[in-house]
């Protein structure tokens, strides 16, 4: 029996779900392998009570999210976190860990009624065991398909843990630091093929800080290139505000 699949979103802009719809060449093949029970962006029904695989986008920012995520984990045999928000807290995570009410107030005015049950944002694995990770903002559809293949074959998660520089070298891209410019590729998890840098844009760290990243050395490198270490830490807040970054 084909695995029953749901796609749902917590706090995010649905960009990764849009990426799934962008898999025009492969989408019909993928849909032939699963029973699509619910897709928040693309189907009109409600979330069914039972399913096998849950693809979850977005960060946890409300108590309702926490409860929903708990139910998802109890129900699904496999949970896949897609996108920066679900994997590192991503953009919602910029609000940080401190003075949540003050920051909501700065945007929505005093005592805002938005986001009932709001809480400091966190990635999925702060609450539940996540079986597979597809990082990035947005996700790369090729990588998503490779992960889905591993899910269907019952292989373990294999998210790359090296940093971006090897990809950049392979692309023969000139290092941004050689030009005195900041790039977060020094510490960011590889796997996207260093696409942004090959298009002339510095890495912004959307795939999260690599587990073995050497932040202390990266800061020294930035300083040698004329970039203040604080600028690197600031840039890391875009996607990695919730990751412990020891100075």
């Amino acid at each position: 029996m084909a695995p029953r699949l749901v796609v749902l979103s917590l706090a995010s802009d649905f960009g990764c779900q849009v990426q799934l719809t962008n898999m025009t060449a492969e989408l019909l093949d993928v849909l032939g392998l699963v029973e699509l029970s619910y897709w928040q962006l693309a189907t009109s029904g409600h979330m069914p009570p039972d399913y096998d695989v849950a693809i979850v986008e977005g960060a946890v920012t409300t108590t309702e999210h926490v409860e929903l995520l708990g139910r998802v984990r109890e129900t699904a045999a496999v949970v896949i976190a897609i996108g920066a928000c679900a994997n590192t807290g991503g953009i919602p995570g910029i609000v940080g860990r401190e003075d949540l009410e003050g920051r909501y107030g700065a945007v929505y005015g005093p005592g805002p009624a938005v986001a009932t049950g709001r809480r400091a944002p966190l990635p999925l694995d702060a609450f539940i065991k996540v079986d597979y990770h597809v990082p990035g903002c947005p996700i790369d559809t090729g990588e998503f398909l490779r992960v889905l293949s591993r899910v269907l074959l019952g292989l373990s998660d294999r998210v790359p843990d090296m940093t971006m520089c090897a990809s950049c070298k392979t692309n023969e891209t000139v290092c941004f630091f050689d030009e005195g410019r900041l790039c977060l590729g020094l510490v960011t998890r590889a796997g996207c093929g260093a696409r942004c840098t090959s298009l002339g844009r510095a890495c912004t760290g959307c795939r999260g800080i690599a587990p073995d990243a050497n932040l202390a050395s990266a800061r020294e490198i930035a300083v040698r290139a004329g970039v203040p270490a604080a600028a690197m830490d600031d840039a890391l807040r875009i996607y990695n505000a919730l990751t412990e970054v020891h100075a």
Partner: protein, 340 residues
């Protein structure tokens, strides 16, 4: 080996002639750097290049290559891909020519690698002399000269090249496509003068005295910890290295999961996953251990098997490593006991 004098002015004619039968790959400008790329026009060839971002190895051992297509239902190999396109690599410096010989030891040894061999068998190599750059230290390993591993080697003697012809194919190409003449004693004297100037121009003195002894005697030295503190573990050094040959092989299934491709990609001993084995064990789980391993393998492990170090002094890793870890510095640390 025999020799011809070829005027520099006819090199574009030679390239155009070769292009009738071969894909001609040579150094071309890419922004502020140079890369080996197929020549769209003979005029794009830049024999005045200093170094290329990636070495020539990718034309024999690409960063990512499909080895075969397979069918899932019965595990059948549907097709194998061997790249047999006739190709000329035009304009390799002595370091890069030498690097191919070191790669050959690995890929063409007891069990030849069919993918590498197919490309090697179908690729001609034309070398060209160079001027030592800021990061070059090929003189440390004797890889500043090359006497085999090429079909033609062009040594700059002013308005002409002093061409060493190493193969029948090289002789055939020179005769067919360009006017050339036999060498005179004056030409050889000019060649010797250029060689002396070249040898005197190196600035990165690397004291390789007793290096294998030092590597073993200083196995537990704190220099490795110091280097490990700096290392980013990024593997940039391996990617740009003309003699790093480690690879990973994995299967990529098609979206319908009915067929797939077996893919080989470059790997690096500097990646933490490189030495990860079953049960979550990792026998080189610190950056210090991985940096040490890299230098042990290149300067001692390979040497003990093939009687050459696995480095040609091209300086690409010096340029690539933002943490400033490079062979001259590591060898200095081994000699002095401190990382400067």
């Amino acid at each position: 080996m025999f020799f011809r004098v070829i005027p520099k002015s006819v090199i574009p004619d030679l390239v155009r002639g070769l292009a009738e039968q071969y894909e001609v790959v040579g150094p071309v400008a890419k922004g502020e750097t140079f890369v080996y790329a197929p020549l769209a026009d003979a005029a794009d060839l830049r024999l005045d290049y200093d170094t290329t971002a990636l070495p020539a190895k990718r034309w024999f051992f690409p960063e990512s290559e499909a080895l075969m297509r397979f069918r899932v239902s019965d595990n059948a190999v549907v097709s194998e891909s061997l790249d047999t396109a006739p190709r000329v690599l035009f304009g390799l410096h002595p370091c890069d020519v030498n690097s191919l010989l070191l790669m050959d030891n690995v890929f063409l040894g007891e069990t030849p690698d069919p993918y590498y061999k197919a490309r090697r068998d179908n690729t001609l190599v034309v070398g060209v002399s160079c001027t030592p750059g800021e990061y070059c230290f090929c003189d440390a390993w004797g890889t500043d000269e090359t006497h085999w591993g090429f079909d033609i080697f062009l040594s700059d003697i002013g308005d002409d090249y002093y061409a060493s012809i190493r193969s029948v194919m090289g002789a055939d190409l020179v005769d067919r496509y360009v006017p050339c003449r036999a060498i005179t004693d004056e030409d050889t004297a000019a060649f010797q003068r250029r060689t002396a100037e070249f040898k005197a121009a190196f600035t990165n003195g690397v004291d390789t005295s007793q290096l294998p002894v030092l590597l073993d005697a200083k196995f537990d030295s704190e220099i490795w910890d110091k280097l490990g503190e700096k290392c980013l573990g990024c593997g940039a050094c391996s990617m740009v290295c003309p003699t790093c040959y480690c690879f990973d092989v994995h299967d990529e299934l098609d979206a319908d999961q009915l067929g797939g491709t077996r893919v080989r990609t470059w790997d690096s001993c500097q990646f933490k996953q490189f030495a990860a084995v079953a049960h979550g064990q990792n026998f080189r789980d610190t950056r210090a251990a991985r940096v040490k391993y890299r230098y042990y393998h290149k300067q001692w492990g390979y040497l003990s098997k093939f009687e050459r170090v696995l480095c040609v002094g091209c300086g690409r890793c010096t340029r690539a490593c933002k943490a400033e870890i490079n062979p001259p510095r590591v060898v200095r640390a081994l000699q002095t006991g401190v990382v400067d």
